[in-house]
Amino acid sequence: MDADRRGQWLRGVLDLCVLALLRDGESYGYELAQALDVAGVGPIQGGTLYPVLLRLQRTGLVTAQWREGGSGPARKYYQLTDDGRAALHHGGTAWLAFVAPVTDIVTKGVDG
């Protein structure tokens, strides 16, 4: 896939993906990057991910704290806030409303 195009799509939706991944529990940067990769979104570089996390933190959608892992190094763990949960709901609904018709149109184009 065209990497530029994929990058553009990601810019618009990476914050929602992160919020969604944090819905069921806290996580840290590297783990989030891996989760996105495993889900099939593709590799997300730290240089793309952390600025998004910082923005989410600054706007109060997530909180963060440094903690020692069990045996691993200290990591910065992110948790969803109530505002983050609300933003995920609104943003997610809007995204779904957007991609459904897009998928529809593109599917017709590709299949036809």
Binding site: G29, A33, Q45, G46, P51, W66, K76
Partner: protein, 272 residues
């Protein structure tokens, strides 16, 4: 450039862009953790340190530089001759509270002489220095007592300010930690390495909480890490409203300072 170097340059870039010190530390630590867990070339994972620092600034913003306060040091028309040789001709420097000034120039252009005149240790042949507030001076070498422990140096400085032994010792150790140095220990000053002795020197010059701090190439014998700690510390002191003058021949720090006085002949006169 390996990962450590990348992180160091990145940290310096954040400071230079006036990202709050705490926030910068967290961002750097997080990048370091990521690199440790995932491996990978920082240039691919994060990109060039300058560009990534710029992105971080977009995400979290910067602290506005504190407004410079009142003039703390005002040196005008400083001229100094040694015999027939004029080392300083009409040099001038004004530093306000909350500013760092760098005095630069080739070897032998009178940087140290200028600083010693500002400190009142040398008289100029012409010109005048006005200092408002308490003055701290960190010489290039000397300033420590060979047969005393670091702790005893702190106690001495404390005694000069009417601070009791134990609080003085605690304050000294805390100030030393700001430079990444654990001053606890039973090593006489004369047995400290050159770099560590210089840290002792520096620690003492900041202990009296001077309003004006004069530093003559304060990083002699420092490794790269100590050098970074030193500049972090200077930025902290600056942001706490101190006026700082650093004599340096290293030009790579100049964009972190507020005022530059270039004493290379034909360049004299301070400019912001």
């Amino acid at each position: 450039m390996n990962a450590d170097e990348w992180l160091r340059v990145f940290a310096a870039e954040l400071h230079q862009r006036r990202v709050a010190a705490d926030a910068a530390r967290h961002v750097v630590a997080e990048a370091a953790t990521h690199l440790r867990e995932g491996g990978g070339d920082p240039w691919l994972v994060f990109g060039p340190p300058q560009a990534y620092a710029a992105t971080i600034v977009e995400s979290i913003g910067t602290v506005p530089g504190p407004r410079p306060g009142p003039v703390r040091l005002d040196a005008r028309g400083i001229t100094k001759r040694y015999g027939r040789r004029t080392v300083l001709r009409d040099a001038a420097l004004t530093v306000r509270a909350g500013q760092i000034a760098a005095v630069v120039g080739a070897n032998g252009c009178g940087k140290s002489t200028f600083l010693r005149i500002c400190a009142g240790l040398v008289s100029p042949d012409a010109g005048e220095v006005t200092v408002s507030g308490r003055l701290g001076f960190c010489p290039q070498q000397g300033g420590t007592a060979d047969f005393l422990l670091p702790d005893e140096h702190f106690v001495l400085v404390g005694a000069g300010q009417g601070v009791a032994r134990e609080p003085a010792r605690r304050a000294g150790r805390a100030a030393a930690r700001q430079l990444g140095w654990d001053a606890q220990g039973d090593v006489l000053a004369r047995h400290l390495s050159g770099g560590t002795r210089q840290k002792l020197n520096l620690t003492m010059s900041t202990l009296a909480e001077p309003d004006v701090l004069l530093l003559d190439e304060p990083y002699q014998g420092f490794d790269q890490g100590s050098y970074v700690n030193l500049w972090d510390q200077l930025i902290r002191l600056r942001d706490a409203g101190r006026a700082i003058v650093v004599v340096t021949h290293l030009l790579n720090q100049l964009d972190r300072v507020d005022v530059v006085l270039d004493l290379t002949p034909a360049h004299q006169g301070g400019h912001s």
